[in-house]
Amino acid sequence: MSGPDPTAAIEAVFRIEFARLVAGLTRFVGDVGVAEELAQDALVDALVQWPTQGTPRRPGAWLMAVGQRKAIDRFRRDRNLDGKYALIGRDGPTPDPRSAAPPGTAGAFEDHIDDDVLRLMFVACHPVLSVRARTALTLRLVGGLTTAEIARAYLEPEPTVAQRIVRAKRTIAAAEVPFEVPAGDDRAARLDSVLQVIYVIFNEGYAATAGADWMRPALCAEALRLGRVLSQLAPDEPEVHGLTALMEIQSSRLRARSGRDGEPVLLHDQDRRTWDRLLINRGLAGLERARALGGERGPYSLQAAIAACHVVAFRAEDTDWAQVVSLYEQLAEITPSPIIELNRAVAVSMASGPAAALDLVEQLVASGTLDRYHLLHGVRGDLLDKLGRGDEAAAAFAQAATLTRNASEHQLLLGRALDATSR
């Protein structure tokens, strides 16, 4: 029995197989855009054939074989594109999509399909693209999300996202980005880009920058899945485990981060008993893995270690704040940034009191670098409030409220301004 809706079942198979299919076909034809079209063509065949002929025992291999056959058809039809079809004709006999295990090519493809998916990730996150284009292309090609789904997630018109993806694929082709995992000096920088793209997707879900929702859990889930996939494909890279651990731990708090009406609940006020223990344990294990690989001082591993300090404490006051301060100091050493300074100030306020923290925050205010960042004013308001300087606190909260584009956060900050005034 194939479930109530055969089309939905086939589409689910297709989504599951999508990244592998596009990756394997890119190896075959050398172009991610062409590979994606071939994958879609294979889906069309599946939608026609599977309901009557039954779902093949190995649907992924079937889709791959059909995609390859369609690549060959295209090649024969349009020989002037032969530059794009570098591998065809040199890779064994023509695959037969009817057999469960196609002879020649498909079997060979399965041998390096994991590497191909990793290559696809590196291509989609290539620095020749803007970060926005990288995230869109990664969600499309590796995540298997449709343009409509990506547009919905980012609250953008679908044609805008579609255009961005089309341009990104053209840029990749024009730059002749090789389908490979870079080696040597290039590798670290390119891996950073992959990690950055995944974390940007996660953060867009974790604290939606615009719109009425405080979070978009679907983006968090997709980023976490990409991290889990990557930690299987590149198991020797400590920062891959560091990033995935960070996302596991942050995700463990997703449910506790919004109240009954979707309003934000800040870390200090969350019901820690509702944090997801499975994700916490996975995150802590991932962090251990990163450490065992010598990655203790990598930026993502340090952030994961900070997140771990929070999740192992059942009450906020049980948090090892001195350890959190120390981890932020280490983080600031390798990646100096005013945002990290701000976070360090928050940890200092918990470890040593609001007065010490306010000194740090006033230095940040004086530097002017975070003038437009709502959380700087939010944190300053919080510290002033704790020091009993209610009117100054209210002004800071009000300023923070005008700077956030997130509707839920705006409400939260206005509420705090009101509370501070009435104290």
Binding site: G3, A12, A218, L224, Q232, L254, S258, D276, R282
Partner: protein, 114 residues
């Protein structure tokens, strides 16, 4: 979305130990599901003879050692799956039960932040 998937079995029907071939195929399946970022936790449950049943009624506990002879539908293996929707969970369940050859698998959503 997270799903809890589990097999159902009847303990009164003796099961031969899994063959080396089945173990190998199951290992390959687990690897595939882990690499896809889908399998986040899994385990097997020992025969009910090794467990106990705990009941609280009117303030009184009753603890009964296994086996639970009345139960024809006992959970055998279980897994936590992270999938985008029920259809995907169904597809992974199909792949799992295909490795077994036959049997019944159930998948149920686990409440999460969605």
């Amino acid at each position: 979305m997270r799903f809890f998937g589990y097999t159902l079995g009847d303990e009164s029907v003796p099961m031969p130990p899994p063959s080396a071939e089945l173990m190998e195929e199951m290992g390959a399946f687990m690897e595939e599901a882990t690499k896809a970022g889908v399998l986040v936790a899994t385990g097997g449950i020992a025969p009910s003879a090794m467990g106990a049943k705990i009941n609280l009624k009117d303030g009184e506990f009753t603890v009964v050692d296994g086996p639970f002879t009345e139960a024809k539908e006992l959970i055998g293996g279980w897994a936590m799956l992270e999938c985008r929707d029920l259809q995907e969970a169904i597809e992974w369940a199909k792949r799992f039960v295909s490795v077994l050859g036959e049997g019944e698998v159930r998948v149920r959503p686990v409440f999460g932040p969605e």
